[in-house]
Symmetry: C2
Subunit: 643 residues, 2 copies
């Protein structure tokens, strides 16, 4: 395919078949910045070691008269002699000298999203063309030479500028077009910048060592969510790790006392929305620390890497016990940006005559809990019905609403049971005013709190859809949650002869709280742990703990309490016998954290090439079909379909 310019009669084929080239003048002065000295000047940093002189976002009035070489994607064309050229850094207006020259004859054929090279000179825009909204709006580039680098095909599945209207599956299928949008560019660039700042904080300021640990490891006890990798050894498999937990503890035993890693982790959870089979943790571990040390370190790291366009953080972050979080927020991930806390109203409803309350309070674990809503807007009966429906998905009895019309008129399905004394006490405790709504729930303590915690979020969501600013948007509410239980009753566990089967609330390496250490051998279910979570605007973004560093205690926990086979952890137990420091650490869910900082709908928006909720790469089609022939080295066979 040769392109001959109809005016110049010059064959423009250059080195490769689709390189068109159109020379207007013989000698165009070029300012390619080859091998330029290192610079800290970020505006020029992106032009080192490449063929452009400037990005499409950096030319200003001060550059007028300078010869420049720009590369970019054609955004808009106007009248065959003017176009806007874009790249990740901005947009520059390009004009051809006049409508009759060769440039415009090439321009007329170039489709948008094609890549071109422009050499030319910076000139001021005509007065009526100046665009103060645009960073490069005072100038334009008079093109002296245009080269078509790569022609865009006729019909793209979507134009990058329209990406907000495009459904996500199409964005994922054509991810490279999606990445061309300024939103995705900023997501990925912010992610990189924050990772870099965190590394500076850890490596350069606090003596941490980044260590890469294997991703081809072995199955951990109970590791049912681990992907397996068959090997050339019959029956033997690697597993992809859910975290580098064992490795980081072994590094501590190895005296590498300040470890971190941006660790790729893997979890096969089947199909869950907004989960990814592979994800990234900022994983760190230190020797000779207590949990407050870890809190301070993480606070310092978040502050150091905090985006400059966000409101300043207040350090230290507040702390809350697990018990308080459940009691006040009905969750271990409290969103402390708004109030609407839980209140224990059991006392008020003792012998209320209402069977749902009386039945609950018969048990020592029973409770009646309330939250008060100040709607600041009209809540319809339909809204309340929907909330009740939601509640019933979580609890047989759901919740009970009381609408406080005025001081005496309380509208509720249970209004005939509400004596004046009860109303007074409830009103005082919850500071009720006319227009407010009370939500009540009764039952076992934990499940009742969790139900109301769930309703609290649902009510906040509902009010926000009606325009009430419940969560102080732009506010950044971090809170440490601590003093979790060390063990929980096993789901579907047996309950023989009064002994409840226990499982680790987090993982079996978590140290017991020193104040409860004596109970570990007697009442392990009462022992709190040294686990901690960092919660950010109601989402758990980090979790960690001080670890068990004593081999005997670790073995006791595994063998006697968890009834796990500790033999597969023999190497770790042996390591703890070989001189182990006290140690602890944390892992930050980096995808989630960046997603929250950017306020994206999904973590997929801060991952360059995410998988769909079914685990598919919609762009490449992975995972793909393989045959027995393809996997013949691995001593496995594809199961025959059941007929």
């Amino acid at each position: 395919m040769r392109h001959v310019c109809s005016l110049c009669k010059v064959a423009c084929l250059r080195t490769l078949p689709t390189f068109y080239r159109l020379s207007l003048r013989n000698a165009v002065s070029r300012t390619l910045k080859l091998q330029q000295p290192l610079t800290r000047n970020t505006s020029q940093a992106c032009n080192s070691f490449c063929q452009r002189s400037h990005t499409c976002g950096e030319l200003r009035a001060s550059h007028i008269g300078e010869p420049v070489t720009l590369y970019g994607w054609v955004q808009y064309k106007r009248f065959d002699f003017m176009l806007t050229l874009k790249d990740a850094y901005g947009i520059t207006q390009i004009v051809a000298a006049n409508t009759q020259n060769c440039i415009s004859s090439v321009l007329s054929k170039i489709r948008s999203e094609s890549v071109i090279k422009i050499t030319g000179k910076v000139q001021p825009r005509q007065n009526e063309q100046i665009n103060k909204e645009m960073l490069t709006g005072e100038i334009e580039v008079l093109a002296e030479d245009i080269e078509l680098i790569s022609e865009c095909k006729d019909k793209l599945p979507f134009q990058p500028k329209d990406h907000a209207k495009v459904k996500e599956s199409l964005r994922m299928q054509y991810r490279y077009l999606d990445i061309r949008t300024s939103k995705m560019q900023e997501n990925l660039r912010l992610r990189s910048r924050i990772a870099m700042k965190m590394r500076e904080f850890l490596c350069n300021h606090h003596g941490f060592v980044e260590v890469e640990t294997p991703t081809m490891f072995k199955q951990t006890p109970g590791g049912s969510q681990e992907f397996v990798i068959p090997t050339r050894h019959p029956e033997r498999f690697y597993c992809l790790p859910q975290s580098p937990q064992q490795f980081k503890q072994l590094l501590m035993v190895g005296g590498l006392d300040r470890y971190f890693q941006f660790a790729r982790c893997y979890r096969d959870e089947g199909t869950k929305p907004d989960r990814q089979p592979e994800f990234t943790q900022v994983d760190l571990e230190m020797s000779f620390v207590n949990r407050e040390n870890i809190y301070s370190l993480v606070e310092g790291m978040i502050e150091y890497s905090w985006p400059s366009n966000k409101t300043n953080l207040t350090l230290p972050f507040p702390k809350m016990t697990y018990a308080d979080a459940i009691a006040k927020y009905g969750t271990d991930k409290p969103d402390t940006r708004f109030d609407m806390k839980l209140h224990d109203v059991s006392d008020i409803f003792i012998n209320s005559g209402l069977s749902i309350f009386d039945d609950a309070l018969k048990s020592t674990e029973g409770t009646v809990q309330a939250i008060a809503i100040r709607p600041h807007t009209h809540i319809t009966n339909r809204d309340l019905e929907n909330l009740q429906k939601l509640a019933k998905t979580r609890s047989e009895h759901g919740v009970i609403f009381i609408q406080v019309k005025d001081e005496t008129t309380w509208r509720s399905p249970i209004s005939k049971y509400l004596k004046d004394d009860m109303k007074n006490r409830l009103g005082d405790l919850l500071h009720m005013k006319p227009g407010d709504v009370i939500l009540l729930a009764a039952g076992k303590y934990l499940s009742t709190c969790l139900l109301l915690g769930h309703m609290r979020i649902a009510v906040a969501d509902l009010l926000e859809t009606k325009g009430v600013n419940v969560r102080k948007t732009r506010s950044n509410a971090f809170v440490w949650v601590e003093d979790f239980p060390l063990f929980l009753p096993k789901e579907n566990g047996k309950c023989e002869s009064q002994t409840v089967e226990l499982e680790s609330a987090h993982h079996p390496f978590t140290a017991p709280h020193p104040e409860d250490a004596e109970f570990i051998y007697t009442k392990p279910d009462k022992v709190r742990s040294l686990h901690y979570d960092l919660v950010y605007n109601g989402a758990e973004i980090a979790g960690g703990s001080i670890r068990i560093h004593d081999a005997k205690l670790q073995k006791y926990v595994l063998d006697e309490i968890l009834k796990e086979d500790s033999s597969s952890l023999y190497h770790l137990l042996e390591a703890l016998e070989s001189g182990a420091p006290t140690h602890g650490g944390i892992a930050i869910g980096f995808d989630r954290y960046i997603s929250m900082l950017r306020g994206t709908q999904s973590i997929r928006d801060v991952i360059a090439f995410p998988k769909s909720w079914e685990g598919n790469d919609l762009m490449s089609g992975a995972p793909t079909k393989l045959t027995n022939e393809d996997i013949k080295d691995y001593h496995i066979e594809i199961q025959k379909k059941k007929s």
Copy 2:
């Protein structure tokens, strides 16, 4: 287990069962540096956010009188009142006040490699104790309080101090003990420091964006060395990628024009010594570049991250064509630290009467090549025999030696064929002197050059075992090798009707050299590529290329030249049609590079938890046996053993 001090009669149980604590004095002033301000001072950086006041390597005479808290591993004990305490930063001498107190009674029981905490005061050493060789040799710490954090078991498989004598499999099995050695600490810490410096160079100085790409991907065409991961979808598998090649090209199409990543890559090569199934590449890609831009960037990055204790680098690195590398060094990985180059001596041996030469020179591809060795030491006949044996493993005829005894006496199996004229010409060409040895080989050009290239290294190794300094040790010889062939005849390929089946010399995305572009449709086997390798002291440490950015050319290469099914790369071809920039990049083999910088025997020495050459993790036992029950979600079955 309670520990009661026999002198103090104080129960020393603290919070956890094996925490022993022995209080000598009630009020020991402590200087725990909790929540201290951020500091750039590296000597203090390692003490932020933890319980020690100082590391074991930092106390000096200037600290005398200061109260300190140290944690570390017991190295040596002397007389039950003195010990040396070590951590990753150094060693400090600890003394008890006198031999009769509680500290010494605890000390007497502590085994080396146990972890202890010491609080005490820095004091000068007695004159005869001062050790100028030791950084902390002017001081010692007078212990006021000792706490046993973790007792080391009686008999470790090896003492870290003895690790040089321990065989590698034992070091790998007890990797945490191995990591406790200063050698492994420095390997891992240097690796982290260099990675950090490279990131600073790329991110902070040159506008690169670090992007994490998936490690669960799809099989690439011809990806027979890719590990597979079964999924919950019948017959469908992910593959672990050998490199992020496709992703980085897609990022370029997405306008993310300066990408890098410390990328984990995977390759199932069965059992090969000094290979790892997972390894790390410093992977980068840029838009709008030529290969010289990439050279300059990499040179800048290596210089920026160059270890301060090494001799300075000279930039730019020299360049060499592939053809020159083969002609002069008999390899595409030339070790340019020493001479001993290949010489084409075909002209000299035309019609020599020696069938091995005459047969070779009959063919247009035939050659006779020579290298000259100046041994500077005695080479025995046995040495020559061994070299010949090695040569015969690579070529039927092996090599021919000529020992130049003096100007007229040339001892050789072919001496009767060596006419004076030949001797003169050989002597002149190779600058022979008495004592020198000539190695000759004849045959097809490439295989003959490769044979002598191999012998060149073997001779250098031999001479070095005899104490001759052949390679200038401590010299750092970097060289860029370029102008590789784009395609090579396929190994085991068919050769029907004059057309030789071709395969990519590197990968199918490599761009052809512009000077040869016209041949791609006519004589593809003659086309050079824009691939380049960076060779460091004879090892290839990086490879990259300018890529094809034209969809039609890419499709032609895949379909017409390589006869690959391009449908599995449909997404990439589609991307190239959607406005693709010119682009290129490189990947540095980071494990190998760090291993060479540290001069370690194997890349395993710079990997925290490496696998054995059979792919086993000797510490944890991975890969481990799984049963059909363990993998039941994945629609695969373990193959029944053949009886």
